[in-house]
């Protein structure tokens, strides 16, 4: 099976990942039918995770692992969760991808991994204060296209 990421891209990602101090855990949810990009998405994530030993991956099926999908509030495939890992503890920061992270979104995917590795949102104090006093959940769904 040919690689999706060429050697140059792998090297760039390797350099980007070099400063990572903390571990990041990715949960991937696929689906057997009606998922045109599931196979490519899984392969893409596997190739990325291979680049750094700070990254780990668990592969799930949306239907066979419905309990895990429910726990992580994932209802679409391909579905990706980017979470923090400290020892055996997985911390969910609410970061999700639905669909293959290609084109511009691939950069976002790499940057999100770095964001979680840094364990800091990088947001302003004002935003942090506002989010800190939320009493109801907030769902932000960002629609993108792959170009």
């Amino acid at each position: 099976m040919p690689k999706l990421l060429n050697a140059d891209v792998v090297k760039q990602i390797e350099d980007a990942f070099a400063p990572m101090k903390e571990a990041v855990h990715i949960l991937y949810f696929g689906q057997k039918d009606n998922c045109m990009y599931c196979k490519d998405t899984q392969q893409l994530i596997e190739e990325v995770v291979e680049i750094s030993d700070k990254l780990s991956l668990d592969i799930y099926d949306l239907d066979d692992d419905a309990d895990v999908a429910a726990k992580f509030n994932v209802d679409k495939a391909p579905g990706i969760v980017i979470a923090a890992k400290d020892g055996d503890t997985i911390s969910d920061y609410g970061i999700r991808y639905a669909g293959i992270p290609s084109g511009h979104e691939f950069t976002s995917f790499i940057q999100d991994i770095l964001l979680v590795a840094g364990r800091d949102s990088g947001l302003s104090q004002e935003t942090r204060d506002f989010l800190g006093q939320l009493t109801e959940p907030v769902l932000l769904q960002v629609f993108v296209t792959p170009t």
């Binding site: 639905a98 669909g99 979104e105 302003s124 959940p137 907030v138 769902l139 769904q141 629609f143 993108v144």
Partner: protein, 55 residues
């Protein structure tokens, strides 16, 4: 408390249609309670969240 999801519009067309997605990026907040079209700075996103929750 906060979940942020990238959704690739062409793979999820029914959802894109539900939220009237035309220009991307489009940020739909709380199932359509608020919508932000375009890539906006953090302060804009914060203002929109505050506006939505004030209703």
């Amino acid at each position: 408390m906060v979940q942020a999801e990238m959704i690739e519009a062409s793979e999820f067309q029914a959802l894109s249609a539900k939220y009237n997605v035309s220009g991307v990026p489009q940020t739909t907040i709380n199932d359509g309670a608020a919508t932000v079209v375009g890539a906006v700075p953090e302060s804009n996103m914060l203002a929109e969240l505050k506006r939505m929750l004030a209703k």
